[in-house]
C-alpha cells in the first residue's frame, strides 16, 4: 500500500538546500518571509459518456509565499515552480531576491499508475446505474522555512461519484485492500420498500460501519479547529479539560494513519505529522492548530493544511479516530427495544454558531426488539453539538472501521480530503429532521 511514510520531495534535494539558503536572508528582512510552499498535482478523471468512457488529465504546479509586514499579512501565489517563477513570486514583496541561477535537475513528473486506465474502466463498468466519475488525485509538496525544507507526502487518493436517483460517493486511499469491497457496496442498489421515520422522532441511534466517525468529525473535529476556538464561535471554546462526552470515549486526530485519506507526512506548514489526542476518557484535551492557532491557544501546531498551492493553510483535521471499546456491536443492537441503525451517511454539517449538527442518513434500518425491521429511506438527523456529545452511550463497540463514504470535507468553500475510523456508538438524543 502506498503511504506517506516515504516523503519524496517533488524537486531535487540539493536544489532545495540551495533554495533554503537563498530564502534565509528574506526571513530576517521587512517584510519577513514566513515560508515558501511548492506543490505539484496530478488529477486523472474518467467518466461515462453516451455509453463510452471520457478521460481527462490535469497537471498543475505552483508556489506560494507568506509575508509578514508590521501591520498586515500577505499571501502571494503563482503558477510555476521554476527558478524564474519563484524569483518573480518573491520579488513581489522583497526588494532583492538572490535565487540560485542554476536550474534544478529536470522535473520528475508524478507518474500515472500503470493500472489506472484498466481499473477506472472496470470501475465504470461496475457502476451500472446512472452517471459515474472516477478520479485519481496525487500531490507532492515541499515547505521551505527559515531553517530547512520539509517534504510533504500524502497517499494518492481515488474518488468515485455516482449520480442518478440515489447519488453516492467514495473516497479512499488508492490501492487500499478494502477498495474493491467498498466499490461493491457503493454500486449496490438501495433496498426496496423503504421507510422514512417521522420528523421530530427522538429514538436511540446506533451508528455502525464507521458512521460514528462522521458524527465525531463534525462534533469534535471541526469544533476543535483553532480558528473557530479563537474566534469564540465553537461551542467547545473554553472547555479545555472539561468532560464533554462519555467517560469511555477516546478520540485522536491521526495524520499518520496512511490507510485513511487525511494522511500526510508533514502538515503544509512543515510540522512533522503526529497523532494528537482530542478527547481522553470523555474530557476535552486538545485543539487542532495551524501555527497561528498554536500561538493563540498555546497548543502544538501540525494541522495547517492547504487545499492547493493557491490557498493559505488553515487549521483542519486529518483522520479522526475513535478508540474501540470492548462491547460486541451485535449485543448493542440486541439491547435496543426501539431505535434506528445507521450504516451509511451521505453528508454532514455543523453550524458552529448555533452548535447544531445535521447528518444525512443514506442507508440504515429501523430496529425493533433488537432486530432489523424495515430499511430506511434517506433522511436527516439533527441535534445540538454539546447535547449529542453528552448523550453518547458509554458502552463502545470493539469493531473499529473506516468510513469510506465521506471525507471530501468542505469548510468555508475550501475542500480537503479527511478520514475517520470509529467503532459502533450508540447516541440517545438525535432527532429526525
Amino acid at each position: 500500500m502506498t503511504g506517506p511514510s516515504a516523503a519524496e520531495p517533488p524537486f531535487d534535494p540539493g536544489w532545495l538546500d540551495t533554495l533554503t539558503d537563498a530564502c534565509r536572508s528574506l526571513t530576517a528582512a521587512t517584510p519577513r518571509l514566513h515560508d515558501l510552499y511548492l506543490e505539484r498535482r496530478l488529477e486523472l478523471k474518467v467518466s461515462t459518456l453516451a455509453g463510452s468512457a471520457h478521460a481527462e488529465e490535469s497537471r498543475t504546479d505552483g508556489a506560494a509565499a507568506r509575508w509578514r509586514y508590521p501591520s498586515r499579512t500577505a499571501f502571494h501565489a503563482r503558477t510555476g515552480t521554476s527558478p524564474p517563477a519563484l524569483e518573480d513570486l518573491l520579488s513581489r514583496h522583497a526588494r532583492r531576491t538572490a535565487l540560485p541561477r542554476a536550474r534544478p535537475p529536470a522535473l520528475v513528473e508524478i507518474e500515472r499508475p500503470p493500472e489506472w486506465r484498466d481499473w477506472a474502466q472496470a470501475t465504470l463498468g461496475r457502476a451500472r446505474r446512472g452517471h459515474c466519475t472516477v478520479r485519481y488525485l496525487a500531490r507532492r509538496a515541499v515547505v521551505v522555512g527559515p531553517e530547512r525544507w520539509t517534504a510533504v507526502s500524502c497517499p494518492p487518493l481515488v474518488r468515485v461519484e455516482l449520480d442518478g436517483e440515489s447519488p453516492s460517493a467514495l473516497l479512499a486511499v488508492w490501492r487500499h485492500p478494502e477498495l474493491e469491497s467498498w466499490l461493491s457496496e457503493l454500486a449496490a442498489p438501495p433496498p426496496a420498500r423503504r421507510w422514512r421515520p417521522e420528523p421530530g422522532l427522538k429514538v436511540p441511534v446506533l451508528l455502525r460501519s464507521g458512521t460514528a466517525g462522521v458524527l465525531v468529525h463534525e462534533l469534535i473535529g471541526h469544533l476543535t479547529e483553532s480558528d473557530l476556538v479563537l474566534s469564540g464561535d465553537s461551542p467547545l471554546a473554553g472547555l479545555a479539560g472539561a468532560a464533554v462526552t462519555a467517560v469511555a470515549i477516546d478520540i485522536a486526530d491521526d495524520p499518520c494513519r496512511d490507510d485513511l485519506p487525511g494522511a500526510f507526512s508533514c502538515d503544509d506548514e512543515g510540522v512533522p505529522a503526529a497523532p494528537l489526542p482530542l478527547v481522553r476518557a470523555g474530557r476535552l484535551v486538545g485543539w487542532l492548530c495551524d501555527r497561528a492557532g498554536a500561538h493563540g491557544l498555546d497548543a502544538p501546531a501540525g494541522r495547517g493544511r492547504r487545499a492547493s498551492w493557491a490557498r493559505p493553510p488553515v487549521a483542519r483535521l486529518s483522520n479522526l479516530i475513535v478508540a474501540p471499546g470492548t462491547a460486541d456491536p451485535e449485543d448493542l443492537q440486541r439491547g435496543l427495544r426501539e431505535g434506528l441503525l445507521v450504516t451509511r451517511i451521505g453528508g454532514a454539517t455543523v453550524d458552529p454558531l448555533s452548535g447544531r449538527i445535521v447528518l444525512r442518513v443514506e442507508r440504515g434500518w429501523e430496529l425493533r426488539q433488537g432486530r432489523r425491521r424495515r430499511p430506511l429511506e434517506p433522511f436527516e438527523l439533527t441535534g445540538g453539538a454539546r447535547d449529542v456529545l453528552a448523550h453518547v452511550e458509554p458502552t463502545v463497540g470493539r469493531d473499529e472501521s473506516p468510513d469510506w463514504r465521506l471525507g471530501w470535507c468542505v469548510k468555508d468553500g475550501v475542500p480537503l480530503p479527511t478520514g475517520s475510523a470509529a467503532p459502533t456508538l450508540l447516541v440517545h438524543n438525535l432527532e429526525v429532521l
Partner: protein
C-alpha cells in the same frame, strides 16, 4: 482591468497557443482545440480591530482537446511556457479514448459575439477604505446594535484565448469583483448575518447603500419572535429565490430521455410554472458575472430562453452533450477554469424582471405575508417525487408592517404547486453563486402558500 494587463496576458496566451498549435499540426492526423487562460485574483479581508489580510494568486495554464480517428482526449497543464503546452498535448494523447462521435464542434458553428467588458480593477487600498466605511455605515444605521465582523473583497482579472486547428480564434479580457460581508449583534453571542454581493462596478459601490441593505435585513431578525399559519402570501427574498432556482437548474440542461425529470413536473398544457416566471441563461448581459464572446468551446454567446411565461422552451447543452443526447447545440458549454473540460452548465441563469414590481409594492400588496430572508440550508428538490423543501428564517408581515421574526421555517410540498403559484416577481434582481455558474434572482411572490405549525 487595465488594458496593459490584458495585452500582457494576451501576448503570453497567444505564444502558448501557438506552441501547442505547431506541435499538434506537426503531429498530423488530428483535430484539436487549444484553450489558454491567465488570471489574477486579489482577496482583501478587513475585520475591524484585526490587521488586514491580503491574498493574491496568479494562475495560468493550457488545455488541449484532441480527436484522432474515433478517439478523443483532454488534458491541462499549468503554465504558459512551451513545456506546459507540450505536457498538455502529451496528456491529451495519453488519455485518448474511443467515442462514437467527434466532440469538437465543427468550424461552421464557431463565432464570437460582440461583448463589452467595461471596468478596471479598483486601486490598491480601495478595499481597506471601503471596508472601514462599511463598518461605520453598519454601526450608524443600526444605532450601534450591529457590528461588521469582517468583509472580504474578491477582485480578479482574467484573459483567455480559444483556438482551433481549423483557424478559429476567440479572445477575451474580463474582470470580476465581489464582496462578502458578515454582520453580527454588537453585544453578546448572536447569529452571524452573511451576505455575498456581486459588484458589477466597484467604482460605483456606495458603502452607505450596501451598509443599509445589510443592516436593514440583519436588524429584522433581531426583533421579537412571531408565528403564524394558514394560507398566506409567501415572499422569497432574492437569496432564497436564488437557492430555489439553483436547485431547479438541472431542469434546464439536457438529459437522456430515460432520466429526464422535467416531464413529471409539467401540467397537461405543458406548463412548468405560473406565467409570471420567465427564465434565461443570459451570456450577453454586461452586468452579469459571467460574460464573454462565446461559450466554453467557441459557439457564439447567446441569451437562451429557458422558460417563457412558465412554459419550458429550450435547454442548454455543450456540443458533446447535444450530440450524445440529440439536442440542437446552442452554446451551453461552460469552462470554470482552464483545467476543466467544457461541459454543459448554466452561466448566468436569471429571472426576467421586465414585468417585475418594486419589492415594496410586493410587500404592500401581499396582506399577511411570510417573508423568507435567509436560507438556512440548500433548497432540496426531489424530481422523482416532484417535491421541494425550503428551510429558511424570515419575518411575518401584516400589510407590509413587521409583526416579528420566525427563526426557522421549513416548507415542504408539491414543487408543481409552488411554481404554479408564483404571482409576481420583483425588480430587485441580485446575483448569487451556484455550484456551477451564477443565478440572478429577484424577490418572488407566491400566493396562497399553506403554512402549518407554531
Amino acid at each position: 482591468m487595465s488594458a496593459d494587463d490584458g495585452f500582457r496576458h494576451q501576448e503570453r496566451l497567444r505564444s502558448a497557443a501557438a506552441t501547442a498549435r505547431d506541435v499538434l499540426t506537426r503531429s498530423g492526423g488530428c483535430r484539436f482545440e487549444v484553450f489558454t487562460k491567465a488570471s489574477v485574483t486579489r482577496e482583501v479581508e478587513v475585520a475591524p480591530g484585526e490587521p488586514p489580510r491580503e491574498l493574491e494568486v496568479e494562475e495560468m495554464g493550457v488545455a488541449v482537446r484532441t480527436t484522432r480517428g474515433r478517439c478523443a482526449g483532454f488534458a491541462a497543464a499549468s503554465g504558459l511556457e512551451a513545456d506546459a503546452a507540450r505536457r498538455a498535448i502529451d496528456g491529451a494523447i495519453a488519455v485518448e479514448r474511443e467515442l462514437p462521435f467527434d466532440p469538437l464542434p465543427p468550424s461552421r458553428l464557431l463565432a464570437a459575439a460582440e461583448t463589452h467588458s467595461s471596468w478596471r480593477l479598483p486601486p490598491r487600498g480601495w478595499a481597506h477604505h471601503t471596508g472601514e466605511q462599511l463598518a461605520k455605515a453598519v454601526a450608524a444605521i443600526s444605532g450601534g446594535r450591529l457590528r461588521l465582523r469582517r468583509c472580504l473583497f474578491q477582485e480578479g482579472t482574467f484573459s483567455w484565448l480559444l483556438q482551433t486547428g481549423e483557424g478559429f480564434v476567440a479572445t477575451y479580457d474580463g474582470a470580476a469583483c465581489s464582496l462578502l460581508t458578515e454582520v453580527q449583534p454588537a453585544e453578546g453571542r448572536g447569529g452571524v448575518w452573511r451576505e455575498w454581493h456581486h459588484v458589477a462596478d466597484p467604482g460605483g459601490l456606495d458603502s452607505a447603500v450596501v451598509g443599509r441593505r445589510i443592516a436593514d435585513r440583519a436588524l429584522l431578525v433581531q426583533g421579537r419572535i412571531a408565528t403564524g399559519s394558514g394560507l398566506v402570501s409567501l415572499i422569497l427574498a432574492p437569496e432564497v429565490a436564488a437557492r430555489l432556482l439553483t436547485a431547479l437548474s438541472p431542469l434546464f440542461v439536457v438529459w437522456s430521455d430515460r432520466r429526464d425529470p422535467l416531464a413529471k413536473l409539467l401540467d397537461s398544457s405543458g406548463r412548468l410554472a405560473a406565467a409570471a416566471l420567465t427564465l434565461l441563461d443570459d451570456r450577453l448581459d454586461p452586468q452579469a458575472p459571467i460574460t464573454g464572446p462565446c461559450d466554453g468551446e467557441g459557439l457564439p454567446a447567446a441569451r437562451t430562453l429557458l422558460v417563457e411565461r412558465g412554459i419550458p422552451r429550450h435547454r442548454l447543452a455543450s456540443y458533446r452533450d447535444a450530440l450524445a443526447l440529440g439536442e440542437p447545440p446552442r452554446g451551453g458549454a461552460l469552462r470554470l477554469s482552464y483545467r476543466d473540460y467544457p461541459s454543459t452548465g448554466i452561466a448566468n441563469l436569471r429571472v426576467s424582471t421586465e414585468h417585475g414590481s418594486p419589492p415594496a409594492e410586493l410587500l404592500r400588496a401581499a396582506g399577511t405575508t411570510l417573508y423568507l430572508l435567509r436560507p438556512l440550508a440548500p433548497v432540496l428538490v426531489d424530481f422523482a417525487e416532484a417535491s421541494y423543501r425550503i428551510v429558511a428564517s424570515g419575518v411575518w408581515l401584516d400589510d407590509g408592517r413587521v409583526r416579528g421574526w420566525h427563526p426557522v421555517v421549513e416548507l415542504r410540498g408539491s414543487l408543481a404547486r409552488l411554481l404554479g403559484r408564483i404571482e409576481a416577481v420583483g425588480t430587485d434582481l441580485a446575483w448569487f453563486q451556484a455550484d456551477r455558474g451564477v443565478v440572478g434572482a429577484p424577490s418572488l411572490l407566491i400566493a396562497s402558500q399553506p403554512v402549518v405549525g407554531q
